[in-house]
Amino acid sequence: MQESDHSIVQAVLAGNKDAYGALVRAHSATVFRVALRIIGDEADAEDVVQEAFLRGYQRLESYQGRSTFGTWIYRIAVNCALNRVGQAGIKAEFRHGEESDPQDKTVQLAAREADPERVLLSGEISAAQGLAMQRLTPTEKSAFVLRHLEDRSMSEIAEILEIAPNAAKQAVFRAVQKLRRELTPLRGNA
């Protein structure tokens, strides 16, 4: 795949604009996933996908093939999402528990009876988590999402966010601390 992506990039740079379509089709789902995880809003995540591929095309000459095209465009997408997070009005949605219902957006707490009081409380926790995530700085939030949800290593996070590995580690650490500080009191009641 890496080799074929590389040859597609060469074809695009040689003037075959339509060849870029193959790269878009191959990587748009991954880019959408990470954008949605960082931003938390589907429409905004779709905008980020468009923006990332547009930027990728414009900077394709700087792609040197050291990493796969997938990693390269992923990095651009994270940065686009980071910029969006910095803008006002974007709300991240994180849910509590092992499962969530995408239809009615209710939250299920693991192995407990869903009495009305508990549902109300779990809704509060979910809202608190959303708020806690919003209070993280864009770097902390992205680093946390990449580490906790995307399962990226610290060195990968450092490369994607263009920061030193220790700074990436500290960003994840600060995010964890802040989230726990805000959510632990609520969880004690649940």
């Binding site: 695009v12 740079l13 040689a14 003037g15 075959n16 604009k17 339509d18 870029y20 379509g21 878009v24 089709r25 191959a26 748009s28 789902a29 959408f32 996933r33 949605l36 995880r37 938390g40 589907e42 996908v49 468009q50 591929f53 547009l54 095309y57 394709l60 000459e61 700087s62 910029n83 949605e93 994180f94 849910r95 509590h96 528990g97 092992e98 969530s100 995408p102 988590q129 580490r147 906790h148 949800l149 290593s153 610290m154 263009e162 994840v172 650490f173 964890v176 601390q177 989230l179 726990r180 959510l183 632990t184 969880r187």
Partner: protein, 251 residues
């Protein structure tokens, strides 16, 4: 061993802890209990379920994107033709100037040899080159400083910056090639880096504050500014050396 702190627990949770920390966790009941609570709190933070995107989604993204893309050959050809036109114009001006200097020099030589015994000073030509290059580096430095402080989102405010970048771009290319041919890799390298920035700024059709920020970040303009300052200092030294040597070369 001290008890584990939050930082060590984060590392352990994400599988990046040391073997010493793992051993401590097994041996210490207090840390083990704290870690269990820590793990529970992090396990509870689950992602939103990401709606699946099938192959049609990729097609849709591509359809929306396609019309916005300019084929590379056309874009490069357009830029090249502009660059070539500029290069030819600058080269023609240089040729005319050289011819004028040559003819003027010959005339002056005939006139001067009749009156004085002063020989042509080879340092003078070098001094002219150094002065011209120093001027280019001065202007480039000013442009980079301006770029560092540009923060307007209105492309009209950045017009002056782009005009200066375009102007510098043509001469920069000539100086870079000359430096490269003259075996000055430091100068050629710095001018090469500078050329990238100039091209980015000059050719952006809608230069916004975000674009400028991207150029600053992607191309490390601060580093280039530093390189230019070092080269300018070197140029000033050469210029003063050349001036000092002037007296010695008069016969």
């Amino acid at each position: 061993m001290n008890h584990l702190g939050d930082e060590e627990m984060v590392e352990l949770y994400y599988g990046e802890g040391t073997s010493a920390h793992e051993a401590h966790l097994k041996a210490c009941r207090q840390c083990s209990a704290q870690y269990a609570e820590f793990k529970r709190s992090l396990d509870a933070i689950a992602p939103i379920s990401v709606p699946q995107r099938n192959a049609e989604y990729g097609d849709r993204v591509w359809t929306n994107l396609r019309s916005q893309l300019i084929p590379y050959q056309k874009r490069t050809a357009g830029w090249r033709s502009w660059a070539n036109w500029k290069t030819v114009a600058v080269a023609a001006c240089c040729a005319i100037a050289l011819a004028a200097v040559f003819l003027g020099g010959r005339y002056w030589e005939r006139f001067a040899t009749k009156t004085t015994a002063v020989a042509v000073n080879p340092q003078a030509a070098q001094r002219v080159v150094v002065v011209v290059l120093t001027d280019h580096l001065d202007r480039s430095e000013r442009m980079l400083v301006q770029l560092e402080h540009a923060a307007s989102n209105d492309p009209r405010d950045n017009t002056e910056l782009q005009a200066e970048a375009r102007d510098l771009l043509a001469s920069n290319r000539l100086y870079r090639v000359t430096a490269s041919n003259a075996g000055d890799p430091q100068m050629a390298g710095a001018l090469d880096h500078l050329e990238g920035v100039l091209a980015e700024v000059a050719n952006d059709p809608n230069l916004s504050a975000a674009d400028i920020e991207r150029v600053r970040k992607d191309m490390n303009t601060k580093g280039i500014l530093f390189e230019i300052r070092v080269l300018r200092a070197r140029g000033s030294d050469q210029e003063s050396e050349s001036r000092t040597a002037k007296g010695a070369t008069i016969l």
